[in-house]
């Protein structure tokens, strides 16, 4: 503080007024530089504090908008019906309603069943995807067998074809064999993940050939090499893909909406839609409780394994 108050007296104008810089003057100007610098440092610090304040202000305002639906969902799920009906604007319930809406939601629709369906379908899809994609990507990355070029180009082309394109013929086919309204129908189109093949091929490419050659000389079969040497080395790519696949299919609505009409088989998004469009769809307390339950698993996984989760979704 002392230094800062002293600074204005030593204005730069003083120095330029002195035409001849004496040894003494030189010495004083040296002594004054730190105080002038301190003054500037103070200003800079003030400016920085203002920028910091503005940045946090903008970020917090945005964060509030991002969080608003989540907060309102949670608050409404524990708010008594009369407060909901009144359209209370308080961000907390005046009277805590407890688990009431959750019990209602469970009575209206089989929420737990939806989640189990989701778990079953997602894990089934992931298991087959990995079983198909790992050997194929290994062969594409490390073996020459004649048809690798054409297969790789087809994989690249298929990357650009979303489920909405193949949905119609696949639906007709499933209807033909009476396969609609089954878990199998929900999983079938996703058994082949061309994305997994592409991703794992890129990651296996970097695996050193010498090690593979050495393993072959030791008499290991290609099958053993694949599962005991190559797969463990690609663990992190596989984990990232697993996150991607689980999230994608847990949240998918389009395909289940086409092949599933039986409430008992619905995965979470379709179940939520049945719930929202049913007669009970105006009971917002229960609806918000249902939304909370169905959103919770992925959000919890995200909060627990943030890095892995983000890595999986943005590979």
């Amino acid at each position: 503080m002392m230094r800062r108050s002293a600074a204005p007296r030593q204005a730069p104008a003083d120095w330029s007024a002195d035409d001849t810089v004496t040894l003494y003057g030189h010495a004083t100007s040296h002594a004054q530089v730190p105080s002038a610098r301190a003054h500037w440092a103070g200003l800079v610090r003030l400016k920085r504090a203002l920028i910091l304040l503005a940045a946090h202000g903008a970020l917090l305002a945005g964060a509030a908008v991002m969080l608003l639906p989540f907060v309102w969902m949670l608050v409404t799920s524990v708010r008594p019906a009369n407060e909901i009906f009144r359209g209370s604007l308080l961000p907390w319930p005046e009277h805590f309603h407890g688990w009431g809406h959750y019990h209602e939601a469970l009575a209206y629709v089989p929420l737990v069943r939806f989640m189990l369906n989701g778990v079953l379908v997602c894990s089934g899809i992931l298991a087959v995807q990995l079983l198909v994609a790992i050997p194929a990507s290994y062969a594409l990355a490390k073996l020459r067998f004649g048809s690798e070029r054409i297969l790789f180009y087809l994989v690249l082309a298929a990357l650009c074809v979303p489920i909405q394109v193949t949905a119609l013929p696949l639906y007709l086919g499933l209807a033909q064999v009476g396969g609609l309204n089954t878990y199998f129908a929900m999983m079938l189109p996703f058994f082949l993940s061309v994305f997994a093949i592409f991703l794992l091929r890129q990651s296996l490419k970097t695996f050193p050939d010498d090690i593979l050659q050495a393993a072959r000389l030791d008499g290991m079969s290609e099958f053993e090499i694949l599962w005991r040497i190559v797969v463990p080395s690609a663990r992190s790519s596989i984990a990232a893909f697993a996150v991607f696949s689980l999230v994608a299919h847990w949240n998918d609505l389009y395909w289940p909406m086409i092949v599933i009409s039986d409430t008992q088989l619905a995965p979470p998004p379709l179940g939520m839609m049945f719930f929202a469009t049913a007669e009970t769809g105006s009971d917002y307390g229960a609806l918000m409780a249902g939304a909370t339950v169905l959103t919770l698993p992925l959000v919890l996984i995200f909060l627990m394994a943030r890095r892995r989760f983000i890595q999986g979704l943005t590979m």
């Binding site: 990357l159 650009c160 979303p162 394109v165 890129q202 994608a248 998004p269």
Partner: protein
């Protein structure tokens, strides 16, 4: 999220398409055919059998359906019909004179025009602010990414409640402010902007993360070098270091956001059921193909959808090739 995820298929797909293909070519040249015939035959057989399941599924889930789709699109087949005939390109002609399809195409484009610039610019802005934070960075990252992780269908019902004409807090606030209540999900002119706002809310965090990961790859030494070269102000350093290095990522994010926006479906299905003023491409295809069972016509619409998606993907791949140059 699911829209975002599905496109991630397409989006992520391409990272080094060109380079990967190139590499595949050079490997072939390295091996001289004919040497160690036995080993080669074994490799042939192993490679083929390892890829067999993938081949079978590729044919059953991609090749055959696309061929069937193309064939269906030139017929007047209706689900369950006994008789059908080839109608040539009639379905395509009909599509472009069908007011519902034209509206859904226009609405989808309008939705893209609203969502893409705002979610990309917003994502970049937030990423720049978050990147400069120290301890609080993780906190903001979590909050902004949260909508990406939440099941979109569930969050859409929450938005439905927030925007409810009588019970929703938004209308309550508007009423208090004397602006009157609005039925955001029923008034033709309001539906699309409302859907776009929800789309932006969901996409913002995803774009932010893509920008953030690029920002943290820019080495501090470049900024130091720029400072020594005379870029004394932070804004100068931003313009001469950050912007050029972020350019390719920016294009990438624009393309992926376009694909995500193009495939809007979930929010329409839950919130407006494609009511007049909110018709979009995928929902129209869904209605024609699976609700009205006009299979042949829906197939033609799907082929148009595929053509547009491929256009976006080709654009994406070209951008990615440029990205590789910079990186």
């Amino acid at each position: 999220m699911n829209a975002t995820q599905n496109d991630a298929h397409c989006r992520q797909g391409a990272p080094s398409v060109a380079t990967a293909a190139k590499r595949a070519g050079t490997r072939d040249a390295k091996r001289t055919p004919g040497t160690r015939g036995g080993l080669r035959r074994r490799e042939h057989w192993t490679g083929f059998s390892l890829c067999l399941p993938a081949w079978v599924l590729l044919c059953a889930l991609y090749l055959a359906p696309i061929i069937v789709l193309a064939l269906l699109s030139v017929t007047d087949y209706e689900m369950g019909a006994v008789r059908w005939k080839v109608v040539g390109l009639d379905n395509y002609r009909r599509a472009f004179s069908d007011p519902v399809f034209r509206r859904s195409l226009a609405n989808t484009l309008l939705y893209m025009v609203l969502v893409v610039p705002l979610s990309v610019a917003g994502g970049l802005f937030i990423a720049l602010l978050v990147h400069a934070r120290g301890v609080s960075r993780a906190f903001y990252e979590v909050i902004y990414f949260l909508p990406v992780t939440a099941t979109l269908v569930a969050m859409a019902t929450v938005w439905q409640f927030l925007l409810h004409p009588t019970l929703g807090p938004f209308n309550h606030l508007l009423d208090l402010a004397g602006l009157g209540r609005h039925n955001f999900l029923n008034q033709p002119g309001l539906m699309l902007p409302t859907l776009a706002a929800i789309g932006i809310w969901q996409l913002l965090g995803f774009n932010m993360i893509l920008f953030l990961s690029r920002l943290s790859q820019i080495p501090q030494s470049l900024y130091d070098a720029a400072a020594i070269d005379g870029a004394s102000h932070a804004i100068d350093r931003f313009l001469c270091v950050t912007v050029p290095l972020l350019g390719p990522t920016l294009l990438f994010v624009i393309v992926t956001s376009s694909i995500t926006a193009f495939k809007i479906f979930d929010t329409v299905a839950v919130l407006t059921q494609g009511r007049h003023g909110s018709e979009v491409l995928l929902y129209d295809i869904y209605l024609e193909g699976f609700t009205y069972s006009r299979t042949g016509y829906a197939a033609a619409l799907t082929v148009i959808f595929l053509a547009l998606i491929l256009l976006l993907s080709v654009w994406q791949t070209r951008q990615l090739d440029k990205k590789v140059h910079y990186a």
